[in-house]
């Protein structure tokens, strides 16, 4: 048997699959909003990492009068303790982003593994896990947050756990539905026919297939996690020992910054939170659009609507 059914071009002439960097660049070019979000994110990540090196003042250092107005030395003014708001904002970026990423990571790990196990094994395991998920899904987020924070105490670690606890359900459901699709693919059946172990099939065939979706969802989730962190801190359930944007808003609010007219103590952290969440959303939805197979069904997609041109002639009456 030497004939094959189609002539083959030598391998080096075949179009090589694009490198990761190049595919990221082409993705950003196709989704300009994702590019904008990406730039904003990079800016905040830079501040979070290197901020402490260029923050003008310390995070606990009283450098002027309470609620001092913005000036040349303090462009964003001073807060209720006479601390420089710009410096606090810079220090807070680190905490806020860490909580966001770690919370999303917890949600991804817990939700992802439960989704994979549930979707892959099906049957009774699926039923048990999904009923548990439903149970967590109907728990009101805010109440759960307050209860857990007051029982376990106010610390950064607990906030991260709470965020994971609230968001893993969404991840689990989404991943489960995708795993159920992948599980029925013939190449998974084939691995089973070959006698491959479940672990092997999950790690070699299932996870690589759903990884892009998992990634896109995690990016989206970081934004939600930051939102939740701000909310928790604003309710006074945040870690009292570290500066975060939510805590800045909370202290300014509780020390009646508004009645002093000190808008500069509330607005900058609020705007920063809004910007970061927006940036994560821009990147995440674009990634989701191109990676979530469900959204490729056109009527569910957020983008790429195309109206069909109207027929030239009048429709018959």
């Amino acid at each position: 048997m030497s004939f094959v059914d189609a002539p083959m071009t030598p391998l080096d002439e075949v179009h090589k699959s694009p490198s990761r960097v190049r595919s990221l660049l082409s993705f950003l070019r196709k989704h300009p909003q994702a590019a904008l979000g990406f730039v904003i994110l990079m800016l905040f990540v830079f501040v979070a990492i290197f901020g402490p090196y260029f923050a003008p003042y310390g995070e606990r250092e009283q450098v002027g009068p309470i609620f001092g107005t913005p000036s040349g030395a303090h462009p964003l003014g001073l807060d209720d303790g006479g601390i420089d708001v710009l410096s606090l904002l810079i220090y807070g970026a680190r905490v806020t982003l860490i909580v966001g990423f770690a919370g999303a990571l917890v949600a991804m790990l817990v939700g992802g593994s439960i989704g994979i196990i549930s979707g892959y094994f099906g049957g009774k395991i699926d039923n048990a896990l999904m009923r548990t998920t439903d149970y967590f899904l109907v728990l009101p987020d805010l109440v759960l947050m307050i209860v857990v924070a007051s029982i376990w105490g106010r610390s950064l670690r607990n906030i991260i756990i709470i965020i994971g606890l609230i968001y893993w359900t969404y991840m689990a459901r989404l991943i489960r539905s995708q795993v159920k699709v992948v599980r029925e693919r013939a190449y998974v059946k084939r691995a089973q026919a070959l006698g491959a172990t479940h672990a092997r099939i999950i790690f070699r065939h299932v996870i690589p297939q759903i990884a892009p979706l998992l990634l896109a969802q995690t990016v989206l989730m970081v934004g939600y996690a930051i939102f939740l962190e701000t909310a928790i801190s604003f309710l006074g359930l945040g870690d009292p020992s570290v500066p975060s944007w939510g805590k800045m808003i909370e202290t300014a609010f509780s020390r009646s910054a508004i009645s002093y007219g000190a808008w500069w103590a509330i607005a900058p952290p609020g705007i920063a939170v809004a910007l970061v969440i927006m940036a994560f959303n821009m990147v995440g939805t674009a990634a989701e659009d191109s990676l979530n197979p469900r959204l490729r069904v056109s009527h569910l997609a957020r983008r790429h609507f195309r109206l069909r041109p109207l027929p030239d002639k009048e429709p018959p009456k």
């Binding site: 059914d5 189609a6 006698g195 491959a196 070699r204």
Partner: protein, 315 residues
């Protein structure tokens, strides 16, 4: 005849369909495959061919009956006990577009069975040999490609190479050519035929009687979960005994117009496998059915030429 590689006796696979109903997917199938023998399992869509193959591979739950592989009853083997059997018994899937992992290069796909079964020596050579045995020569041209860079026929050859790499003794091919262009089919079937000549037992599932007639040694005709006729391929085609086989044979186009017979089109649809007709399960569509066909269930018995069997009350 030598000891059969695979012997299936009265295989039954039932699925629950809710509300105490049962799908009789496979309802008493018996067949044997000897080394170097090419057996075709022929039947309409939905008659239980694929389920039978999956049950033989122990991927579908066997309700009753026995599956014997090389004298060992594997019907009740645990998945762990099945592992060495899966080394020797390989399944080729119908759809070459689905059965290869799109993220795996050809090398990864073909090497995977070796990894699963812990074969560590000469992996690269084994992969190359399997590819070339499957007709993908030279192997260098294909080994680093992804499935989307290959044509349907080439993918099916990769799939076959992945089955051959463990040097199996029995191949179950589930409609290996039905998704392929007609021009490519002959190549794949010729490949299976060559493998048969080198001593493999092949059980091919197909709905194409003319393909079966051309390549198979023996043909089993299935209708609604049961084998209704079985025998040497030529006998079954030239001298069909069961009315269902006669109808199938009559619709195969004849190259010689003088010999063409009037095609006999069966009335109605295949009955729902949840509600199997009483008596002979073919009687509602049978052109020659009598009153007793509604109550008596025929068993396979010798009819026609040597080694031929049919399950019909009227022969």
């Amino acid at each position: 005849m030598t000891e059969p590689l695979l012997q299936v006796d009265d295989l039954v696979v039932h699925y629950p369909a809710g509300r105490k109903r049962v799908v009789h997917a496979v309802d008493g199938v018996s067949l044997t495959v000897a080394p170097g023998e090419f057996v075709a399992l022929v039947g309409e869509s939905g008659c239980g061919k694929t389920t039978a193959a999956q049950a033989i591979m122990r991927m579908a739950k066997v309700t009753a009956g026995t599956i014997t592989y090389r004298g060992r009853d594997i019907t009740t083997f645990s998945q762990r006990q099945m592992r060495p059997i899966r080394h020797e018994m390989q399944l080729i899937f119908q759809d070459p577009y689905e059965s290869l992992d799109p993220r795996f290069r050809v090398r990864d796909t073909v090497i995977e069975p070796l990894k699963i079964h812990g074969v560590t020596d000469n992996r690269e050579e084994r992969v190359r040999a399997a590819l070339e045995r499957a007709g993908l020569t030279p192997a260098e041209l294909y080994i680093d490609r992804y499935p989307h860079e290959l044509s349907g026929g080439q993918r099916q050859r990769v799939s076959i190479a992945a089955s051959l790499v463990l040097e199996p003794t029995l191949l179950l091919a589930d409609e290996p050519v039905s998704m392929l262009d007609v021009s490519v089919r002959a190549g794949i079937l010729g490949l299976l035929d060559e493998l048969r000549k080198s001593g493999l037992g092949i059980l091919m599932i197909t709905h194409d009687l003319s393909t079966a007639a051309h390549y198979a040694d023996r043909i089993c005709v299935m209708y609604l979960g049961r084998v209704v006729e079985e025998g040497p391929a030529l006998e079954v085609i030239r001298n069909p005994q069961h009315p269902y086989t006669k109808a199938l044979v009559s619709v195969v186009p004849q190259p010689d117009p003088d010999r063409a017979t009037k095609p006999q089109i069966l009335q109605g649809e295949t009955p729902n496998p949840i509600n199997i007709p009483s008596g002979c399960r073919f009687h509602p569509r049978c052109p020659v059915a009598e009153a007793r066909c509604q109550s008596e269930d025929p068993q396979l018995r010798t009819a026609g030429g040597a080694g031929q069997q049919a399950a019909c009350l009227l022969i």
